[in-house]
């Protein structure tokens, strides 16, 4: 996964989080999305996939 693809994945998740919840800041959504993408990448790497 390239840095651009990582940014895109974070952006998609961040926007979805903001769309379905109320009262959360964009910064919070960004942190959650970043943590999810990093976790998913780590999980993929553990499974032997190219992240």
């Amino acid at each position: 996964m390239t840095p651009q693809q990582r940014e895109q994945a974070i952006d998609v998740i961040k926007n979805r989080l903001l769309k379905v919840t109320i009262g959360h800041t964009e910064q919070e959504a960004l942190e959650v999305a970043t943590a999810m993408v990093d976790q998913a990448t780590a999980n993929q790497d553990d499974d032997g996939h190219a992240g």
């Binding site: 996964m1 693809q5 990582r6 895109q8 994945a9 998609v12 998740i13 926007n15 979805r16 989080l17 379905v20 919840t21 959360h24 919070e28 959504a29 942190e31 959650v32 943590a35 999810m36 993408v37 990093d38 976790q39 998913a40 990448t41 999980n43 993929q44 992240g51």
Partner: protein, 200 residues
């Protein structure tokens, strides 16, 4: 304009004393004759010799024109007409483009359908995992148990949702497919994810 030959002819007439016209008059007369003859032929040519006249253009008979055309093509002054092979290859090219467009459309349709099915499955999985998480947290005997439940749920959500989105992006499936995968983040799961991020 009058041709050099016409002007020269009038000049020679004047020089021979056969005409009392002045030089300027000779040129004007030659120009007039030239214009009249062009008008008679309905011939008007603009820049670069391009035909700009109105009315029927008087040309040589068909055979002469064909011969002239062949000569001009042989001299490289006219482009050769499209050969059947070129027309065929153009047709093939357009047919291939059409086939590609249809195949692309079909692939997009299949990808969209596959994504929809995948999203439906994911939504169910996310829902089940969220229910399990609520159960785990409720049953947690200690803060440590609750923390473990948070970690577990976050890791599962990241794998399910984040993994699918990363996979779709790296596979180049396009924004509609990627966005539809994000739909599996339900409001309840999103709230839980925000909550968990605070506690992690």
């Amino acid at each position: 304009m009058a041709s050099d030959a016409q002007v020269a002819a009038f000049r020679s007439l004047r020089a021979a004393g056969a005409s009392a016209l002045e030089a300027a008059e000779v040129i004007n007369l030659a120009n007039t004759i030239d214009l009249v003859s062009k008008a008679y032929l309905h011939e008007r040519r603009g820049a670069g010799g391009k035909w700009v006249g109105s009315g029927p253009r008087i040309g040589p008979p068909k055979e002469q024109r064909a011969r002239a055309r062949a000569r001009l093509i042989a001299q490289g002054r006219l482009p050769a007409p499209a050969q059947p092979a070129t027309v065929q290859s153009l047709r093939e090219k357009h047919a291939t483009i059409g086939q590609l467009a249809r195949a692309q459309e079909q692939t997009a349709k299949i990808a969209t359908e596959a994504a929809q099915i995948h999203v439906q499955k994911m939504i169910k999985q996310v829902h089940d995992e969220h229910a399990q998480y609520v159960k785990d947290v409720t049953a947690a005997q200690s803060a440590e148990d609750a923390h473990k439940a948070h970690l577990k749920f976050f890791a599962i959500m990241a794998s399910l949702i984040g993994g699918a989105i990363i996979g779709a992006i790296t596979a180049g499936l396009g924004l509609p497919v990627v966005a539809s995968l994000a739909v599996s983040i339900s409001p309840a799961a999103a709230e839980a994810l925000f909550e968990m991020k605070k506690r992690l």
